[in-house]
């Protein structure tokens, strides 16, 4: 990786040697990139092909890169070995979607107050908001648990979803940074037209911020999709499990019963299925992801 240090800008220099060194560099660059890409993709490739194997193909030296025969039915069998369809429903509709809506809405409103209105103490409070990112989850874990128990929210998604409606510091930060890049003139013109702050937020700022809001929404959705610790603590009833808990349950089943055939292939099959939507979201939304982050322009 160290070979890449000089890469970004060493393109057009030394006019005479430029063509040769440029080509050499270009070649080297692609070699490095391809080697790196392979090492980044390898775990996913291995996850995928392992999902197609049976036990005898898993524990083999040297490893089998392309299983023959390939057991495509593992995907189906693994999926139905636990109620994963139910977990998928829970993950998406009970957790990820409400969480995403809450996060985007609240973070945008709060970010507006932290960026588009000048008021005394704003920056101090904003710093405090950022500082809460430093509070280790473990510090608040048990007291929070007690609070939600008082509310009677245990074994529901409320402890996971409701806090999102109060904004999330990281996303507040991202949106604030984005809102700051929108010229103040736009707001000033609206004030003259008699608009109030709420009008400006919903009619002007939010429509201008679609890329940033989309990124926040995607990140929020993925956070909820991936969450393990939150559901682990609050969700007890197996009918309310999310996908990550389902994977852990599958893993626990194998641990407790070593005779179950295809432990690894099943685990890998379910892992592949769970990763797949993220692949799809990312590949279709990649442009928005990247543009959103670049436009958010964290500085």
């Amino acid at each position: 990786m160290t070979a890449t240090v000089k890469s970004p800008t060493s393109v057009q220099y030394h006019p005479r040697r430029q063509r040769i060194s440029g080509k050499l560099f270009s070649l080297l660059k692609y070699v490095v990139l391809i080697v790196l890409s392979i090492s980044f993709v390898l775990p996913f490739y291995w996850m995928f092909v392992s999902a197609l194997k049976d036990d005898s193909q898993v524990y083999t030296v040297p490893p089998i890169w392309v299983p023959d025969p390939a057991y495509w039915n593992n995907f189906y069998d693994a999926w139905v070995s636990q109620p994963f369809t139910l977990y998928l429903f829970n993950t998406v509709f009970k957790y990820a979607i409400p969480y995403t809506i809450g996060t985007v809405l609240a973070s945008a409103i709060v970010a507006y107050g932290f960026s588009r209105i000048r008021w005394r103490g704003r920056d101090a409070l904003f710093f405090l908001c950022l500082a809460t990112m430093m509070v280790p989850f473990q510090v608040t874990m048990v007291p929070l648990f007690m609070i939600f128990k008082q509310f009677g929210w245990l074994n529901t998604y409320l402890p996971l979803v409701v806090p999102a409606f109060f904004g999330t510091p990281f996303f507040i930060f991202m949106l604030r940074q984005f809102f700051l890049t929108i010229p103040q003139d736009i707001s000033d013109a609206a004030y003259i037209d008699g608009a109030n702050e709420v009008d400006i937020l919903f009619r002007i700022i939010l429509p201008l911020s679609k890329p940033a809001l989309t990124v926040v929404a995607l990140f929020a959705f993925i956070n909820a999709w991936n969450d393990y610790l939150g559901p682990l603590i609050y969700i007890n009833d197996a009918h309310e499990f999310v996908l990550s808990l389902g994977v852990e349950a599958l893993r626990a089943t194998f641990s407790y019963n070593s005779t179950v055939a295809n432990a690894y292939p099943y685990l890998m099959a379910v892992s592949t299925i769970i990763v797949l939507p993220i692949v799809i979201i990312f590949f279709f939304g990649q442009k928005m992801f990247i543009e959103g982050i670049s436009m958010t322009g964290i500085k």
Binding site: M1, V5, P8, T9, S10, V11, K29, V32, L36, S37, P43, W46, M47, S50, Y59, T60, P63, A106, I109, V110, F114, I117, R118, W119, R120, G121, R122, A124, L125, A131, T132, V135, P136, Q138, V139, T140, M141, V142, P143, I147, F166, G167, E197, L201, I222, W225, N226, Y228, L243, E248, M268, I274, V275, F282, Q286, F289, I290, G297, I298, K299
Partner: protein, 307 residues
């Protein structure tokens, strides 16, 4: 809260006061959430940290005993401090450097950039539980892919996760693998560096390294600071991956601060002590971040004219 000081109120104009109220209204969701979901739990756990509390019986106030016993008699405390600092100080900078280099590589003239970018970004957004099962399967000393390859070549295996000396570096390797967020953020910052600056430098005859050193790096220092801070905060709080992958072993090599904290709270029934641990960690992170900010004045370059 500094805004509510009565003395300053009289010094405010009407429009200042209106803006203050409006500002507070807009941030009120966060403010309420902050009081309810952060301040109150923080205060409770601060209280618990001065008690002997096993979760099951009522807390008993014992003063500073949890703190003093951690520092003086708890044989694991310094082990987990060492492990955590080792990991954090290795992982966070290594993550920033590797992410920066990969972003720089992606920022060159490139065919298939979206593809490479996607490949590098992707590991950051998959569920940790998947990361854990997949890497366990890759790194296992007997059946892991890497060691199967070595065995196939008649070479001795590498006990990535089962040797105390290799366990932390192996986790750092996975950490670096999952630095996609930082890569994308760096890439965005690199693309923001104005082309003219490079062109002007080339006219002056600057070499590639000089352009990198004197244009690219200074203009991206705010983002480097951002990623560094996020990296440190994340690494300090890293829990799920080592918990699922190594469970603190082998020989306590990956017994990180948060794992020990969790163990104290939920396995040893020492919630008071765990709360003390949590507060110490909180203070460590705050001090760390503050120091980084302080030093950043010296090396972070804020270009106020680019807007």
């Amino acid at each position: 809260m500094a805004t509510a000081q009565p003395g300053t109120k009289s010094g405010m104009t009407r429009s200042e006061r209106r803006r203050l109220i409006q500002g507070l209204l807009f941030i009120s969701p966060w403010l309420i959430g902050f009081l309810l979901f952060t301040i109150y739990p923080l205060a409770s756990s601060l209280y618990y940290s001065f008690t002997r509390y096993d979760l099951l019986r009522d807390p008993v106030f014992i003063g500073m005993r949890n703190y003093t016993s951690l520092v003086t008699t708890d044989s694991m405390f310094w082990v987990v401090i060492y492990n955590t600092l080792f990991y954090v100080l290795l992982a966070a900078p290594a993550g920033v450097v590797s992410a920066f280099l990969m972003a720089a590589l992606l920022n060159t003239k490139l065919m298939g950039r979206p593809f490479f970018r996607a490949v590098f970004f992707f590991p950051a957004i998959i569920p940790t539980i998947v990361t854990a099962v997949v890497w366990q399967f890759l790194l296992n000393v007997q059946f892991g892919l890497f060691n199967s390859i070595l065995q196939g070549l008649q070479l001795p295996t590498i006990p990535f996760l089962s040797n105390p000396a290799y366990a932390k570096p192996s986790l750092v390797m996975i950490y670096i693998w999952a630095q996609g967020n930082a890569i994308v953020i760096f890439l965005a910052a690199l693309q923001d560096v104005p082309r003219q600056l490079y062109e002007a430098a080339e006219v002056d005859g600057a070499r590639a390294w000089h352009k990198f050193r004197h244009i690219t790096i200074p203009l991206t220092t705010p983002v480097i600071l951002f990623n560094l801070i996020m990296g440190f905060i994340y690494a300090f709080q890293e829990f799920t991956l080592p918990w699922l992958l190594t469970g603190g072993g082998p020989a306590n090599a990956t017994e990180f601060y948060t794992i020990y904290l969790y163990r104290n709270a939920f396995q040893f029934l020492r919630m008071g002590k765990a709360s003390a641990l949590a507060w110490i960690l909180f203070i460590i992170i705050v001090v760390f971040t503050a120091v980084l900010f302080k030093t950043s004045a010296r090396w972070v370059f804020y270009n106020t004219e680019t807007e």
